[in-house]
């Protein structure tokens, strides 16, 4: 019985595309489970829905929810699309789904145990040998490894879609490193924040208990039943497609996010490298694929895993979730045999139906497949990505023949499936509801003896109206997944990502050294970016003034400033080499390149790029506000790049805006992370870089002696690039003199921008770094102490002394050179002592096998 508002909602819904729909039945009646949601939607109206959708898009972007797509023209950090209209299932149906998923998880668990155990399924002829042995996820190195956990399969994700018969069908299983839980969590958080009206009068089941149990599961996995096991989340790194989720889960659960480089196997145990020492790890939640987990025993070209890990697993010194080797279950060859296996183990049929599938390793099935090829979908048993799925109805003669040939050359590697038309659900697209195919990913975890299913999950929507295939890899849309119940539910948990059972990193000693390194470099890049931007802005301002004042000294001072730019940024030849005529004659061109050219070493663009990299690696530490500021810098930058309008005025304006944001960003860092979380390393990096740049500027501008008027102009430029002109005027109330400038920017003990102050601050912070070995002298602490000792005892009168030629302040230059060396030594020593990544993992014999 369609109601009035719903008719409006569904106007033109099926105009050009008719399909089995979740909401609108073929007789145009409405699925009653959706009634309340539709009422809520129509109460709000299309216009407001559009605004809500915009807000959700904004929030997802603000929160930095991304899904990386390799080689994506939109850049690697593509934002995650959440459709404003959720997907829902009533509790009554959900109970059946839950039962089916639980059965399937139990079954896959037994299959996994059997494959790496006694292989009874193969011995008893239930499962053909080739389905396991020809699957590249079957890792012979994992044979006969026994685990302490009751279940071997600990996390299981299943993709379901509704078939024309109204039942939910199993499309896929994910067992290696299932993704999507974090996105599901974030979807619920964002939708309830932006669109609470949608939930009006509807009871939606919450997943907070599930995540509590998930955490408990990780704790329970620890070998030897440790009470407080050390748990880490292993990510392939910021380039991985679901890196956002890795960082999100790390932040949500409160465990360190690590890469293979942070871990090391020694003395039969697994350790995480921290600032102070090696810390034993008991449980790894892995997001790295099986074969990359151990370059010693598995793929030798992997840099994502830990050499020797598998042996530690074998000796029950560490638990990996899911166990290495679970990928063998991501196997479409299993599908035709699942019902038999289910009967073998449980003496019952599968609850959830699967798509009719034929394994080509059998004669009869192979013949059927070859005779009906054009109406089937063909897959490799061990490849489920879109590139390896053949929708035969769309293939031409030539491609079909090629496929036939491939199948015949190794039939056991192929499975064919009936094509099935799955249901659509309304999605809000371009201001109206549109039917789009949907696929639901549902998650189950082992909870001691039983599997627990997350109420809801992740719903993905086909990217185009008529697309059959739903995949994130091509960048799709997602939906919040509601299990609605007739019982009232408790209020929403706040899912903000820093509200969790986080076990704070108790001590700076425990900071993973890779994180420490990234923090140090974030500080250095940020410091460098700020000083460089200010310096370039000052030069641009001077150029602008020259338009109005073309006196001789002005031109000469500009030339000096141009040359100093090249020196400070180390972007030779630039303005300094003999053939620098071009640059001097067209300084704007050179400066534009210094600002915008990200392929040029030392350019501002490149500093920002390096900063981006270290920023992404630290994703789990940053706050949302920081993300927002960071994102606005990126937008500002790309917009400016697109416009290609490079004049003195526009460049100055760009730098102005970026500088403001960089300063805001720096303020946020200080309030967002604790010193013990690594802020100390960031400070050391930042101060060290600023001090180094300070020294470089002084050497470039204060060492040579100029005539009175020129000197004035140079000093003024120097102070203005240093943002110290006002302080100078306030402190000295006098004409600019070299003596006072040196007093202010080098020797002042109280002024935060003076070198003395900076060195003192670095020394204080470096002294707080842990001592790794009491017997070894700590080079970084010594170097910075020496630098501070030198600057503390300097006298301005000595520094301004001129050499014999009366053109250079030699003493000043020598002192600055020495300080500069000590700062570099400090920085190098910090890397050597604390970051320990100098050594690259390599193979004993470089084999370069063409690995599949």
């Amino acid at each position: 019985m369609p109601t009035e508002p719903n008719t409006t909602l569904f106007q033109d819904y099926f105009t050009d595309f008719k399909n089995y729909d979740e909401v609108l039945k073929s007789n145009m009646s409405i699925n009653s489970n959706w009634q309340k949601l539709l009422t809520n939607l129509s109460d709000i109206g299309f216009k407001n829905l559009s605004n809500k959708q915009k807000e959700v898009n904004w929030l997802m972007e603000e929160n930095g929810v991304t899904y990386n797509v390799y080689n994506d023209p939109k850049g690697i950090h593509r934002s995650w699309d959440l459709n404003i209209v959720p997907f829902l299932v009533h509790e009554a149906e959900w109970a059946k789904i839950e039962e089916g998923i639980t059965q399937r998880s139990e079954l896959l668990n037994l299959i996994l145990k059997d494959i790496y155990g006694d292989q009874e399924l193969i011995k008893n002829g239930i499962l053909p040998q080739e389905i396991v042995y020809a699957h590249r996820g079957f890792l012979r190195q994992c044979d006969k490894i026994y685990y302490t956990t009751c279940k071997h399969l600990l996390v299981h994700a299943t993709d379901l879609a509704r078939g024309p018969d109204g039942r939910m069908w199993v499309v896929n299983d994910r067992t290696q490193a299932p993704s999507g839980m974090g996105y599901a969590l974030e979807n619920r958080y964002s939708l309830s924040r932006i669109f609470p009206e949608a939930f009006k009068n509807i009871n939606v089941k919450q997943s907070s208990k599930f995540f509590y149990e998930f955490n408990q599961m990780l704790i329970n996995c620890a070998p030897q039943n440790k009470a407080n096991p050390n748990i880490v989340i292993l990510t392939p790194g910021p380039l991985n497609e679901t890196y956002f989720e890795h960082a999100y889960m790390a932040s949500f659960l409160g465990y360190p996010l690590v890469t293979g480089n942070d871990l090391v196997v020694r003395n039969g145990k697994l350790y995480m490298k921290t600032l102070k020492e090696l810390k034993q790890v008991d449980v790894i939640l892995k997001r790295v694929d099986d074969v990359f987990m151990d370059p010693l025993e598995l793929r030798e070209d992997s840099y994502l895993g830990v050499a020797g890990l598998l042996d530690i697993v074998r000796n029950k010194q560490v638990a990996v979730v899911n166990p290495i080797g679970s990928g063998v279950l991501e196997n479409s060859g299993l599908i035709p045999f699942m019902n038999q296996i289910c009967n073998y183990f449980f003496d019952e049929d599968l609850i959830l139906p699967q798509i009719a599938s034929w394994w080509c390793g059998q004669k009869k099935e192979l013949d059927y497949v070859l005779n009906h090829l054009d109406e089937l979908v063909v897959k490799h048993i061990d490849r489920s990505n879109r590139e390896n799925i053949f929708f035969c109805e769309f293939l031409d003669e030539k491609a079909l023949n090629k496929l036939k040939e491939d199948i015949l050359s190794a039939p056991y590697k192929f499975v064919a499936q009936a094509k099935i038309s799955f249901s659509t659900a309304p999605s809000f697209i371009n201001g109206a509801l549109e039917p789009r195919k949907v696929m639901c990913r549902i998650f189950a975890i082992a909870n001691n003896e039983k599997y627990k299913v997350m109420p809801g999950g992740l719903v993905r929507v086909a990217a185009e109206r008529e697309t059959l295939f739903v995949s994130n890899h091509r960048g799709g849309i997602s939906k919040d997944f509601w299990v609605v119940t007739d019982e009232a539910q408790t209020n929403f948990q706040s899912y903000s990502w820093d509200n969790s059972c986080r076990l704070a990193i108790a001590d700076i000693n425990d900071l993973p050294s890779n994180t420490a390194e990234n923090l140090f470099w974030s500080g250095r890049y940020l410091g460098r970016a700020l000083v460089t931007a200010r310096y370039l802005r000052m030069v641009l301002n001077r150029m602008n003034q020259q338009h109005y004042d073309v006196s001789y000294s002005n031109t000469e001072s500009l030339t000096i400033l141009y040359k100093s730019v090249t020196n400070i940024t180390s972007t030779f030849p630039g303005f300094v080499e003999k053939n620098s005529g071009d640059a001097i004659n067209n300084p704007l061109k050179e400066l534009t390149s210094l600002i915008m050219d990200d392929t040029r070493i030392g350019s501002f663009a490149q500093i920002m790029m390096s900063f981006n990299h270290s920023y992404y690696s630290l994703r789990s530490l940053w706050s949302k506000d920081m993300w927002r500021v960071f994102d606005s810098i990126k937008k500002l930058w790309s917009k400016f790049k697109e416009e290609k309008n490079y004049s003195i005025i526009t460049l100055t304006k760009l730098l102005d805006r970026i500088i403001t944001r960089l300063i805001a960003f720096m303020g946020l860092i200080e309030e967002s992370i604790l010193v013990n979380q690594g802020l100390l390393l960031y400070f050391i990096g930042l101060q060290t870089e600023q001090a180094m740049m300070n020294v470089a500027k002084c050497r470039s501008l204060l060492v040579p002696k100029y005539g009175e008027y020129l000197q004035y102009e140079i000093l003024e430029s120097f102070l203005s690039s240093h943002e110290s002109l006002n302080i100078y005027r306030y402190s000295y109330r006098s004409y600019l003199s070299i003596e006072n400038v040196i007093n202010l920017v080098l020797l002042d003990k109280e002024y935060a921008k003076s070198l003395t102050y900076q060195l003192k601050r670095i020394k204080k912070d470096v002294d707080r770094l842990p001592n790794t070995d009491l017997n070894v002298t700590n080079v970084c602490k010594e170097s910075i102490a020496k630098a501070y000792e030198i600057i503390k005892n300097l006298q301005v009168a000595d520094l301004i002394e001129l050499d014999e030629s009366e053109s250079i302040r030699q003493k000043l230059d020598d002192t600055l050179a020495e300080l500069s060396d000590l700062l570099h030594e400090t920085s190098l020593a910090i890397s050597d002592t604390y970051f320990n990544h100098a050594y690259q993992q390599r193979q004993l014999v470089t084999q370069n096998f063409p690995l599949p």
Binding site: A410, A838, Q841, Q843, L844
Partner: protein
């Protein structure tokens, strides 16, 4: 029957030295029918902080060890004493039934689902280094393998053809040269010949495995044998129903007898490299291998 002393020494020199490495060694000869390992001793310098042995999926002994001290040279010496008596290995020439079994019969035999066949049938499937069996390789195989021809005869002929058609050339290939290149260039070393043969046998649907081992080389007449003049060797093995695995050496064109020592079995070289590892270092390293296999007493 011959008793051998085998010394296999591998030395790595690291330009910049290193303080930490994990390694796997497959250096312990198997005890199988016709071959008994009497004595085995693995010396590693510097001394590993950890060392353990395990049996891999294919029944080979693997030693895993880690070193945690600064060193510029790693030296691994495996010393074995082995009795080799090929007369204990069932001779296919005396097994008339097995010798005559045809390709068609053989394929039908492997279609059965029997628990005992699992470990044999896995060698029909492709493996890491023998993954791309090209039509060219299959065509080469089909010259010898015919539906109604004896599998033994065909395998023997395949061995002979590889010996005649392929040039032994240590410069032509390295461990990473793919089989599809080897079949085109028809040059290589024992490992390439073994892998080509295995690819051929698998291309017609039969199980074939890689045998890694050693062969005794004889000095020119009247000359003293030089120490360390031997080398690692490799050949292939075909499973013949009603009989078992039969080894063929395509590099020397005969069925191994007492001069061959079996080290390990695998699907291809990838499963059984004598020594591999992960090191943490910069700079180059240099490897030197010496093998000395000589009969003792008797």
């Amino acid at each position: 029957m011959t008793t051998y002393q085998l010394i296999h020494t591998t030395t790595y020199n690291y330009e910049n030295g290193l303080t930490f490495c994990h390694n796997l060694a497959t250096l312990k000869p198997k005890t199988i029918l016709g071959q008994t390992l009497l004595d085995y001793n693995l010396q590693i310098s510097p001394r590993p902080i950890e060392i353990s042995d395990k049996t891999d999926f294919f029944g080979n002994n693997i030693t895993r060890f880690s070193i945690q001290e600064l060193h510029t040279e790693l030296k691994v010496t495996a010393k074995s004493k082995i009795i080799r008596d090929f007369s204990l290995i069932p001779d296919i020439n005396t097994n008339v039934l097995a010798k005559q079994i045809t390709l068609t019969e053989s394929i039908a035999y492997f279609k059965q689902t029997k628990p005992d066949l699992i470990s044999i049938k896995q060698f029909i499937l492709e493996s890491i280094l023998i993954a791309k069996i090209t039509p060219e390789i299959k065509a080469y195989a089909e010259v010898s393998f015919k539906p109604n021809r004896s599998v033994f005869e065909a395998s023997f002929e395949l061995m002979q053809r590889i010996f005649n058609d392929f040039e032994f050339n240590t410069k032509a290939t390295n461990v990473a040269t793919p089989i599809e290149d080897v079949i085109k260039r028809k040059k290589g070393v024992c490992q390439d010949f073994a892998q080509i043969a295995i690819a051929c046998v698998r291309s017609v649907g039969l199980p074939a495995r890689y045998v890694s081992g050693y062969i005794e080389t004889l000095p020119p007449p009247g000359k003293e044998k030089l120490i360390g003049s031997d080398a690692s060797h490799a050949w292939f093995s075909v499973y013949i129903p009603q009989h078992g695995w039969v080894d063929f050496d395509p590099t020397n064109n005969h069925i191994p007898r007492n001069q061959h020592i079996v080290l390990a079995h695998g699907r291809d070289y990838y499963d059984v490299p004598p020594l591999k590892g992960v090191i943490y270092s910069t700079g180059r390293n240099k490897m030197n291998v010496s093998v000395d296999l000589r009969p003792i007493g008797n």
